[in-house]
């Protein structure tokens, strides 16, 4: 049986097929590619880091002007504590710093949902710290957590106070305290040496005026001399 396709049709089909093959070859192997960025070790592309500007030179220390004082009728809210416990060092809830990380707060506070505040459990404090009376205290310095840990005779579990390290608890202790007796100041108590303050500026014009007035007053002639 003779093939009924015309020679033209055959040619078209063959041409299209050949063209498709060639096009496919070219697309796969010869098409221009988008440049690939170089991936740094350990990760893919990253956002450019924010490079800090050079810090400006520190302003000359100066006294804050008197008008910097503001009497703000802010309501100070302190975290409540069982009244049977020591009532010292209650946490001010109206001034709470932001934080990031268990030990990022000062005043021995816990970092709770991004804000410093009173702890309620050891897990809210950092490694090696325990929660005592709303504060994170180094475990080695905890000798009580409640008045119930102390002897009778009205003893309370008290905190010794904030220390001046950034965390605020390097020297802080939790100890039982019987509210009787005391401890005197050390014999060699050092007294702070004051720094001489700058003398007040002299208004030379006003000074001369006062001298002239005194020179004209018989009673004050001695002063003028």
């Amino acid at each position: 049986m003779r093939n009924r396709r015309s020679q033209t049709a055959r040619a078209v089909i063959a041409g299209v097929t050949l063209l498709a093959i060639v096009a496919g070859f070219l697309a796969v192997y010869c098409w221009p590619r988008a440049p690939r960025p170089t991936s740094p070790a350990g990760g893919g592309t990253r956002l450019a880091a924010a490079h800090p500007r050079s810090a400006p030179s520190l302003a000359t220390p100066e006294a804050a002007p008197d008008d910097a004082l503001r009497g703000a009728p802010d309501a100070m809210v302190y975290h409540p504590r069982d009244t049977s416990e020591w009532q010292g060092m209650r946490v001010n809830m109206s001034m709470r710093a932001f934080c990031r990380g268990a030990k990022s707060c000062g005043l021995a506070a816990a970092c709770l949902d991004g804000q410093c505040g009173p702890c309620t459990s050891d897990g809210q404090c950092g490694d090696g710290e325990r929660c005592v009376l709303d504060h994170c205290v180094l475990a080695s310095n905890v000798h009580c957590r409640s008045h119930r840990d102390c002897s009778a005779d009205g003893a309370l579990c008290v905190l010794s106070g904030y220390s001046s390290d950034p965390r605020g608890n390097a020297d802080m202790r939790a100890d039982c305290l019987v509210p009787r007796g005391g401890k005197g100041l050390p014999d060699d108590l050092p007294l702070t040496v004051g720094i001489p303050a700058p003398a007040p500026e002299v208004n030379s014009g006003a000074l001369m005026d006062s001298v002239r007035r005194a020179a004209g007053n018989a009673e004050q002639a001695g002063v003028a001399h």
Binding site: A20, G43, L69, G88, P179, G181, A197
Partner: protein, 480 residues
Amino acid sequence: MTTLDAKAPRSAGRWNLSPQLAGISVLVALTLLGFVRQAHAFCNPDTDPPIPCTVNGQDGERTCQANGQYGPCSVESPPPPPSSGTVSGTVAFYQNQGNFCPSTRSCTGATYLQSQYQTNMPIAETKVFIRRASDNATIGQGVTDSTGRFTISWTDPSATGNIVANFIWVGEHKDGRFAVRTSSGGQWIFWTPSLTLNNTVNTNIGTWTWGTAAAPNSLANVYDGAYHMWAFGLSQSNRMNAFFTGLSIYAFDDVCPTSCANGPSNRVTLDTNSPYSPQGRIMHEMGHIASYKGSRDQSFTQVGGCEFYSYPSTSCVTGSGWNLTSAEWEAAAFEEGVATHLGDVCLYRAFATEPHTCLSSSSCGTGSFNIESSLGTTCGTDQNRWPLNHIRYHWDNYDSISDYPGENLSRGMWEVVDTLNAFEPGTENRQKDEPFLRVFGLTVTDDLDGRSPVDFRDNWITWGTDSSTQLSNNCGSPGD
């Protein structure tokens, strides 16, 4: 079927291709085209979703770009950490308080010297904060040490680089023992101008001083007076460590023209003339609070009625007051003596040779009044009602210097508050509310000489210490 026959000679001009072979070729071509699409990521940015990928073991994705091609494999980067760091520095104030020990006298045992007066002294042991300049949000908190130095860590979650902030302090003792408040109980804020804090490192902001010789800062001076009272005096007592906390110092209000203390409210109110006379004002008033906190159950009925200051009248004489050498009913003289003594203790150690007490914005004049002196056992009329002589009685129990035969007590200041605690509750003799009587729930004045130095001495005897010699050598007391 026509097939390609490699061996058959081809007719010139003619090239035969079978349909099957053509179909296969088209299929291959289409398949290659599909791979092309995949390899060169031809895509529609509006409709084609990202393609998962991996780079260096980390999962990422390739997103269709505007040019119709998929971009490179992109791994999601963690956000940069928020700004944080530390800030350090020192805070100070211009010291303008009186009651220093003058260089013209022996200052052995004195804790506040003329060499410190009118110099820049540290703002010691106070709470300090860092506030974001844009909205005053608190981003750091800490305390100063006894030299006024601090190092605070801070965090600003809204920033990733350097920030602008203010340093502030608020007049509150680091451990909450006391706080200087406004006349309505609000919070004072002492601040610096805005400062740039460097991300991830420490920023030293230097020394900031409040007040000058031309314009001393009254509030900073009050804070220091209160700090001195606590650090050099009251903190020695376990009872005060347990119960003296949260005191509010209202500054300034002339509702009490010469300042006053309210134990139940745990409040001191300072008059406008008070800031530079600490011994007779902030220290004395804190002494009243200490007396209140020292008493049994940390309370007693304070003697404040006008009649107690109206001796010899038994009823109120309008305008009555008191001073160190005024004769008063013993209930008032004793309480004023205790409060003054507790302030004196913070200014002079037990081995001081010339301790003085007075109301002054400078120094006490020599002899006005030397609390080491004793008038002896024979005194003028009503000198046994002078608060000054009761102060000298307490001093002789405390000091380590003997100036008459039998003066051999040298007791810690805590024994004053512990002995006050020894007074039993009640209104009977030797009890803490002896000046009063309770009738059908009302409290009325009953014994104007109740709660006197005699009661103090006798309660102390119960606890094992007899100070009769000290009392009699300071004119004694008409109380019973």
